[in-house]
């Protein structure tokens, strides 16, 4: 126990001095503790600049230390950034460090403190953090001034795509402050009671005058704002290259990229630095710079091009040997000499570069294409022979050169255009003819194709035509000025040999020979159809004779034009087929081809005819169909005027469409559907020459619609209008057979009657002779027998009067209403007055001729040819008063004669003739006599009387047909 107490005391005694030592160390400043920390603000870069020193370094040599920096905002506890800064330090050395704040430093108070630690393995005992320096506060708000609103940062310069934080200080306690970026409101967050911030991400370049950011603080006052200058990003330098043209000056070029100039930032500057010579040159231009080659035979160059603006630097390096960057200057004194039709000599010079040789490239161009290319080594004067050129052809000759010792780049071209001289035409013309027989000879038109440029060898001036009569040796020549390509000749009916040549300024072409035979030998050759394709017409033929020297296919490019556009193709003797192509071929146009065989005597004879379409089309129009032979069961369609030749395809036949109400198609037709029509019946005619068609098996008295359209191998014709057809009734035909003869018969009878009417009149109702005009009178007068005269009726004394009684009920009984007149009942039989009784039997009037006059009333006439109208003798005038007045009488006379009897009322029954000699039929009570009494012994007609149903008040006139009314007056006699 005592031992334990001793050990404990000893241990405490050892620890006590150690603790005392440690207390001494801690009371003194540690050697690495930062001292004299000063913090300042750089508003331009929003930087906190720190400055401090380390006085108590234990050693004099330079030591590696790590400084830890802590930055707080608004209050010390709000640490916004902590970081280490490694550096070397000597005793009493003042250290600097800078921190860029995201938030403008004017908007918040910042606090900074630092501490350090030795970062050197040689002093492990100092490898512990020093004490923190005291917090250093930075606040510039008090120095801002007396304004009530501040917006930061002011006129800041950033690169495109940067993130920028803005803040404002408002001392006016305004809460409704709105801030805008180019007029667009931004979201604002409050940082402190009077400080707010807003953040802009990836700001774009807007304009060199900067992006406007402003806040509306007080209504009616100017906005408070700032400008954010957003610079385009300085691009990497591209295409940096240097070269010399004379080994004296280097010319360096590059692609500068976008200009980053702003109102507060000039365009990026370019500086050229050469490492070997340590020379530097500020370039005046944006994309090129010159460098004077040093005179000390510097071979190698190492250039650094640096582009720089306020925000960024870009560099690019280039190392080269001077003689490897030689590009000669453009050759000079370029000439073309000794130009003829196929050759020319070109000469040139180059600017000398020391004693170097040059490699030159020569090119010959024609129509934009290189036709010759060659390389030539030379020293100073170059020469090259251009050969194998074509006569009368435009060329471009040019040359460029490169440094001979080491190829870098060609110089620019130097060249000149020239034209070779002409030469005589190379080939014979391609000639063809068109021969038309005219009375007494031929009309020959010669055609030829212009020589190609290759064969013409210059400008063709004229064409020579030599015509030689083979039957009667004679010849004449013609000269046709170019560019004509045809001429017409009128020749007699002989054989002619025609030679055609072309001439230019240097000579004449070989002759092209053609022979016109005295006998055209036109043959009737059947035309054969060929089918064309997009590639043309494939034609083949059979050789006729074995000694043909060739064949010619002839056609017209524009067969519908009067000029036709004659074309031909010459083929060799062993060719029996060809494909005719032409850009002029159009779909729907029929082309006719004639194949000629050319004999050894250059006589062309027609071999075959072909016709076809490059592409057949649907018929362009439909035929106009005529209708005929219409019966109740059929009709015939005809379209004989329809021309199949003018159609855009070979007509293969026709479709006949029939529409009817029948569900089933008539025989020969099939049900089909047209494009825009209801179901139809269709009949196909396969023969294009058949242009009539009879539609049969139709229903009588039915309506049909019919339509005819042609078709080609492509399609049918266009839709058209259906023609309506109505079949007649089945019996109509028969009726016509019966009725027509009847009508003819009646007409015949009518005509006969018309011509025989005088005869009829004489037979039926001859004129009543006037006794006063009788010839008897003249005889009497001539005999002067004054005692003889005609008895006047007034002088007659009646000897018998029969009174007829008529019941009242019958007065108003209309005649014939529901009954015939024969059915009309009379209470008493009608009694007639026998005014002129015969001596023998007054009651028997004897045979008498009865005559009826229809003039007065048709109704009356209907009673019968000799009807006697009963006259009620006791009818009072009042009851007959309808005719009492003349007006009533006239009205009655004006009545329509077509009135039926039944329509005639009693009052309307106006006039009836009564025979003067009519005698009543005794015992006939009920009806008029069906067999009227025939007056006996009536040798002649008696005076007719009109008997009105009422008393006529007007006196009879002498001329009136009513003169017989006088009888009515007699009626008064028996009153």
């Amino acid at each position: 126990m005592a031992l334990f107490a001793v050990l404990q005391t000893t241990f405490l005694l050892v620890l006590l001095p150690l603790g005392t030592y440690q207390r001494k160390v801690s009371s003194e400043p540690l050697p690495l503790t930062p001292e004299s920390l000063k913090v300042s603000i750089n508003s331009t870069c929003q930087c906190l600049n720190l400055q401090w020193s380390v006085h108590n370094l234990p050693y004099h040599q330079e030591l590696q230390i790590i400084v830890q920096i802590q930055i707080s905002r608004i209050k010390t506890s709000n640490v916004v950034w902590v970081g280490n800064y490694s550096t070397t330090v000597k005793r009493n050395q003042v250290l600097h460090w800078s921190w860029e704040s995201e938030l403008p430093l004017e908007c918040a108070t910042h606090f900074v403190r630092i501490r350090s630690v030795m970062d050197d393995a040689k002093f492990p005992e100092l490898k512990s953090w020093s004490k923190w320096s005291s917090w250093e506060e930075v606040d510039v708000q008090d120095s801002l001034g007396h304004d009530t609103f501040f917006l930061f940062p002011k006129d800041k310069l950033v690169e495109e795509g940067s993130n920028v934080t803005f803040c404002y200080i408002s001392r006016s306690n305004q809460n409704n402050i709105s801030c805008y970026l180019e007029g667009i409101q931004v979201h604002v967050e409050q940082l402190a009671p009077n400080v707010s911030t807003f953040h802009l991400s990836r700001v774009p370049f807007v304009r060199p005058k900067g992006t406007n950011i402003f806040c509306d603080v007080t209504q009616g006052e100017d906005p408070k704002g700032t400008i954010l200058y957003v610079s385009k990003v300085l691009e990497e330098l591209k295409d940096f290259s240097c070269e010399t043209r004379d080994l004296k000056t280097l010319n360096c070029t590059w692609d500068p990229g976008s200009d980053t100039a702003l109102e507060i930032q000039p365009s990026q500057s370019y500086t050229l630095f050469e490492s070997f010579s340590q020379k530097k040159k500020v370039c005046k231009h944006r994309n090129w710079c010159t460098w004077q080659v040093s005179q000390d035979s510097q071979e190698m160059y190492h250039f650094t091009l640096m582009a720089e603006n306020y925000l960024r630097k870009r560099t690019v390096h280039l190392v080269f040997k001077l003689t490897h960057r030689v590009r000669p200057m453009t050759p000079l004194n370029f000439f073309l000499e000794n130009i003829n039709s196929t050759n020319a000599t070109m000469t040139w010079k180059v600017h000398p570069i020391g004693n170097s040789t040059f490699l030159c490239q020569v090119e010959l161009h024609h129509d934009g294409q290189i036709i010759q290319q060659n390389k030539v080594f030379m020293e100073m004067n170059g020469k090259y022979l251009l050969s194998e050129m074509e006569p009368d052809t435009h060329y471009l000759a040019r040359v460029r050169c490169a440094y001979g010792n080491h190829f870098w780049k060609w110089s620019e071209w130097i060249g000149r255009k020239f034209t070779t001289l002409e030469a005589a035409p190379l080939a014979a013309l391609d000639v063809w003819r068109n021969v038309k027989s005219v009375p007494g000879g031929y009309n020959v038109t010669l055609f030829w194709k212009p020589l190609s440029k290759f064969h013409a060898n210059g400008k063709i001036r004229f064409y020579n035509i030599a015509v030689e009569n083979l039957d009667k040796p004679s010849q004449f020549n013609l000269s046709i000025l170019a560019p004509s390509n045809n001429t017409a000749l009128i020749l007699h009916k002989y054989s002619y040999q025609i030679r055609v040549t072309a001439s230019n300024s240097m000579g004449t072409s070989p002759a092209s020979v053609i022979v016109i035979s005295g006998d055209l030998g036109d043959k009737d050759i059947e035309e054969e159809r060929v089918k064309g394709t997009e590639d043309g017409f494939s034609l083949s033929w059979k050789p006729q004779s074995g000694d043909a020297i060739g064949y010619v296919v002839e056609w017209c490019d524009h067969p519908q034009d009067p000029l036709c556009g004659l074309q031909w193709k010459k083929l060799g003797p062993n060719t029996t087929s060809t494909v005719i192509t032409s850009d002029a071929f159009r779909p729907g146009v029929r082309y006719n081809f004639r194949i000629y065989e050319v004999s050894t005597k250059w006589i062309a004879s027609l071999l075959e005819k072909k016709t076809g379409y490059s592409q057949e089309l649907a018929p362009s129009d439909n035929p106009k169909v005529a209708m005929g032979s219409l019966t109740s069961h059929s009709f015939t369609l005809s379209w004989k005027d329809y021309s199949t030749e003018s159609q855009p395809g070979f007509i293969r036949g026709y479709y006949v469409y029939l529409k009817s109400r029948m569900e089933q198609c008539t025989s020969g037709f099939e049900r089909t559907v047209l494009s825009d029509a209801p179901a139809n019946c269709e009949h196909k005619i396969d023969n294009p020459e058949q242009k009539t068609f009879t539609v049969e098996n139709l229903q009588p008295a039915s309506s049909y619609e019919v339509f005819v359209t042609p078709y080609t191998s492509t399609s049918k014709g266009p839709n058209g209008t259906f023609t309506k057809v109505t079949t007649p009734d089945e019996y109509t035909h028969m009726l016509i057979r019966i009725i027509l003869p009847m009508i003819l018969c009646i007409l015949f009878i009518t005509i006969v009657c018309y011509f025989k009417i005088q005869w009829m009149k004489e037979k039926c109702y001859p004129d009543i002779p006037d006794p006063y005009k009788s010839s008897v009178l003249s005889l009497i007068k001539s005999k002067e027998n004054t005692h003889l005269t005609i008895m006047n009726l007034k002088d007659c004394i009646p000897d018998a009067i029969e009174v007829v009684n008529k019941p009242e009920g019958s007065k108003t009984q209309p005649l014939g209403i529901g009954k015939s007149l024969t059915e009309t009942e009379f209470t008493k039989p009608a009694t007639y007055l026998y005014l002129l009784p015969t001596e023998e039997n007054p009651s028997d009037p004897g045979p008498c001729v009865c005559f009826e006059n229809f003039t007065y009333n048709q109704a009356a006439s209907d009673l019968g040819s000799c009807g006697h109208i009963p006259v009620p003798p006791d009818a009072p005038p009042s009851q007959l008063g309808l005719l009492n007045s003349p007006e009533n009488l006239l009205k009655t006379l004006e009545k329509d004669y077509t009135n039926t009897l039944g329509e005639i009322s009693a009052g309307e029954t106006s006039l009836n003739y009564v025979s003067q000699l009519a005698s009543p039929m005794p015992g006939d009570k009920d009806s008029l006599p069906t067999d009227p009494p025939v007056p006996a012994q009536c040798s002649e007609y008696k005076m007719q009387m009109a008997v009105p149903l009422g008393r006529a008040s007007s006196p009879p006139s002498e001329d009136s047909s009513l003169s017989s009314i006088a009888l009515l007056d007699q009626g008064e006699h028996y009153r």
């Binding site: 002011k154 006129d155 805008y180 180019e182 007029g183 807007v206 304009r207 060199p208 005058k209 900067g210 992006t211 406007n212 950011i213 402003f214 100017d222 906005p223 408070k224 704002g225 700032t226 400008i227 200009d259 100039a261 702003l262 109102e263 507060i264």
Partner: protein, 245 residues
């Protein structure tokens, strides 16, 4: 936009002809009515904001702001119509000449910056850059009219403007670029209003060079004998605003 372009083109043509009519002849017209008519026409054209203010606003990007509200002339920046009417003809012309000189100076500074910056010159920029020539045309007519009015004995003639290099120093920048933009807008608004007043006052000069004393060319010159350019320290209404760069 196309109508505006045509309008500007026509304006440019008219102003160009007016300028050429003075410059190309190499000497001043001796006809008072001709000179006065040209000045009136030039003033009428230059009161149009299409000439300066509108392109300025677009170039500065101020068209995104409610510029009609804040882009108002600062009171007193340019002489008012009544102040101009109160001047003698000589004084009026000198005031006008001095004001235009200030506008030219500010405009030239602005153009120099813009012209160097903008490679792809748009129509606004071209209009603004041509405005300098137009104002020089006005100043030439002022010079000629002043010389015509001065033929009766006054030696107070200031020299015509010339289109040589601009050597005047860059004005002291105001606190912030944004404020400078706004100030420039106000300045040009005042300028156009000023030219409107100038046109109205010139319209009252129809009678001819010899008038009452108040409008006499010899009224108001004090202590300027022998000078050929108008003094910037003359005690007459002068513009106080500055066009921003």
């Amino acid at each position: 936009m196309q109508v505006q372009l045509i309008r500007r083109t026509l304006l440019g043509l008219v102003l160009g002809l007016l300028l050429l009519s003075t410059v190309a002849m190499g000497s001043c017209s001796g006809k008072y009515q001709v000179l006065l008519g040209q000045l009136q026409q030039q003033a009428k054209i230059m009161q149009n904001t299409d000439m300066l203010l509108d392109p300025y606003i677009r170039i500065q990007g101020l068209d995104k702001l409610n510029h009609k509200e804040y882009c108002k002339e600062r009171p007193g920046a340019f002489p008012g119509k009544d102040a101009l009417r109160g001047l003698s003809r000589w004084g009026f012309l000198q005031t006008l000449n001095a004001t235009l000189g200030l506008v030219l100076h500010r405009l030239a500074a602005f153009q120099q910056k813009v012209c160097n910056l903008t490679k792809d010159k748009d129509q606004d920029w071209k209009t603004l850059c041509q405005a300098e020539l137009y104002i020089r045309g006005i100043r030439n007519n002022i010079f000629c009219l002043t010389r015509l009015l001065n033929l009766n004995g006054s030696s107070e003639v200031f020299a015509p403007t010339w289109a040589g290099p601009r050597t005047l120093p860059w004005p002291t920048p105001s606190p912030g670029a944004f404020n400078r933009k706004i100030d420039g807008c106000k300045f040009l608004q005042g300028y156009h209003r000023f030219m409107h007043s100038v046109g109205q006052v010139l319209g009252e000069w129809e009678e001819g060079p010899s008038r009452t004393r108040r409008h006499s060319p010899f009224w108001a010159p004090q202590g300027r004998a022998g000078r050929t350019r108008p003094s910037r320290r003359a005690k007459r209404p002068m513009p106080r605003g500055l066009l921003p760069p």
